[in-house]
């Protein structure tokens, strides 16, 4: 076994047409560099699973045509509002959505991590989730037969992707405390983590976040600015100006094609993109 250290293109090549791909992140700590690489690699037919509330991570992949179905509890660009590609793709009937709820999804991932077939979840009774998810089942609570409980199937993604602060050279990782990555990594068959920096063993800043042992990590990619344009707390904020550019481009297919050319396809090497990001960063500081 052992954790492998790869470059972005090699990591993206681990993801195949038809895979269920789980991603973490919102307008904070989304694994954007790897998602851009996936787009460059021509990924398609993905079953995207958004662990927790998602944002531009899901919206960009959907906009670039990589996604066949999406399972999510919420997709919204934080303070930048509705996710334009997600919204349009659903409204136009081009994207199949499997509705989930954040807590029920966390429980389903827990069940996946535990090797259980399903798990009961609180709430959901009386909602239309039960109308649109035929695999959210009502069963009788064996201990209170007068009570019905919703059960949901375990989630076991083929691959999961998240961005983290650090990895050490042994493959141990420190990730965001606001995401469920330790659990998601356990539930997933293959785990790819992009990190801001790789440090020597013993040098991990464990107080910064959730420690995840190398045992659960298959692939690490060193990708500085890997969450850009979403934020990586302690490293860089979300780029508001870029988000405005994104939103504007998302309004028109032609404009979005240009956006993809300019910000995704033209950067064949992530290093170049990092330079772009850091230049934006320093401008940001000057403007502030």
């Amino acid at each position: 076994m052992g954790t492998k250290f790869l470059e972005l293109p090699e990591a993206a090549a681990l993801i195949h047409h038809g895979d269920t791909v789980a991603i973490s992140g919102s307008m904070e700590m989304s694994p954007m560099a790897l998602l851009r690489e996936l787009i460059r690699s021509g990924a398609s037919g993905l079953h995207l699973l958004c662990s927790g509330s998602a944002a531009i991570n899901a919206d960009l992949l959907i906009g670039a045509g990589c996604v066949e179905t999406v399972e999510a509890s919420q997709i919204i660009l934080g303070e930048f509002g509705f996710a334009p590609h997600y919204r349009r793709a659903v409204e136009e009937g081009r994207l199949q959505v499997r509705e989930h709820a954040c807590p029920a999804m966390a429980a389903a991932i827990q069940a996946g991590a535990m090797g259980l077939p399903f798990i009961p979840v609180p709430g959901l009774l009386g909602t239309d989730y039960l109308q649109v998810r035929d695999d959210f089942r009502l069963i009788r609570n064996p201990y209170r037969p007068e009570e019905e409980v919703v059960v949901v199937p375990a989630i076991r993604p083929d691959v999961c992707i998240f961005h983290a602060y650090q990895a050490d050279t042994q493959g141990n990782v420190v990730a965001s405390r606001l995401q469920n990555n330790r659990l998601l990594a356990q539930a997933s068959r293959h785990v790819i983590v992009t990190v801001e920096e790789v440090v020597a063993p013993g040098e991990l800043d464990r107080e910064k976040g959730t420690f995840i042992p190398a045992l659960y990590i298959h692939t690490v990619v060193e990708a500085p600015f890997g969450a850009y344009p979403t934020s990586c707390p302690g490293f860089y904020p979300a780029d508001e100006a870029h988000m405005q550019t994104y939103l504007k481009a998302a309004g028109h297919p032609n404009e979005f094609e240009k956006y993809l050319q300019q910000y995704v396809f033209s950067y064949t090497r992530h290093e170049d993109y990092s330079v772009y990001c850091s230049r934006k960063e320093s401008q940001h500081e000057i403007l502030d």
């Binding site: 997600y86 509705e99 954040c102 991932i109 709430g123 909602t127 989730y129 469920n180």
Partner: protein
């Protein structure tokens, strides 16, 4: 003192929060986040606040442990919104129109289908007030207010806050009624902008305006904290009156 609509809602909502309560706020909820922080900095110093996205005061491992905490019944107050809210306080966060081919695809229900059932007191909020947002019937039920699905003492809808009004469930029927109105509006106007009958009888009291102390704390300490989570909201609505 002048104040923005957001400031008005924040200060009114803050008054609903009690000292010593455990108050949690989900994402995309700047008004409740500000209300919780404001309450804590004014009349509820021993309140415990957990605000999603506010890493500095986040003791949980991921969101999972936060939901677990709620599921164990340990949170007193939570806030939810809805693109549509019906007369029972059921909410829709999924679609406007037909589910299969929606007119508007909304962001989704997030944690509402659980937290509404397991936190003790629930406040709904909506930053606009139009008849379309308060229909007779929801296009999709993202979370249900029905007492059928709750244990005693859990998931009680307290009130719905909008820029124009406060609605509260009637004691017996649990149907929403007009409870108070904002300065500058009338009960008739509110009814006109609500798609279901608000059961208005006689005079409706006014919602108290923000106090100078509230505005002062909101525009200083609370603003600073909120800045980290909702910079755009702060820029738009706090302390620019």
């Amino acid at each position: 003192m002048k104040y923005s609509t957001e400031e008005f809602m924040i200060c009114a909502l803050a008054r609903e929060l009690h000292d010593g309560e455990t108050i949690a706020v989900g994402n995309s909820s700047p008004v409740p986040a500000a209300a919780a922080l404001l309450a804590k900095e004014t009349h509820a110093p021993r309140a415990q606040t957990y605000i999603m996205g506010y890493e500095r005061e986040w003791p949980f491992e991921g969101t999972k442990e936060f939901f677990d905490y709620i599921q164990r019944g340990l949170v007193d107050v939570f806030f939810l919104s809805g693109a549509q809210i019906d007369c029972w306080g059921n909410i829709n966060l999924h679609v406007i129109g037909d589910y299969a081919r929606p007119k508007v695809r909304l962001p989704g229900g997030a944690g509402s289908s659980m937290v509404y059932y397991r936190c003790k007191r629930i406040f709904l909020f909506k930053t606009d007030h139009h008849a379309k947002g308060f229909p007779e019937r929801l296009d999709f039920v993202s979370s249900s207010a029905s007492p059928d699905f709750r244990q005693e003492g859990a998931g009680r809808l307290e009130a719905v806050y909008t820029p124009l009004a406060v609605l509260r469930p009637a004691p017996l029927t649990r149907r929403l009624q007009l409870s108070a109105i904002a300065p500058g509006t009338t009960a008739e106007e509110v009814q006109g902008k609500t798609g279901f009958d608000l059961g208005i009888e006689g005079d409706v009291p006014r919602i108290e305006a923000p106090s100078p102390q509230q505005l002062d704390v909101l525009r200083s300490k609370v603003k600073a904290a909120l800045q980290e989570i909702y910079p755009a909201f702060v820029k738009g609505g706090i302390g620019n009156g």
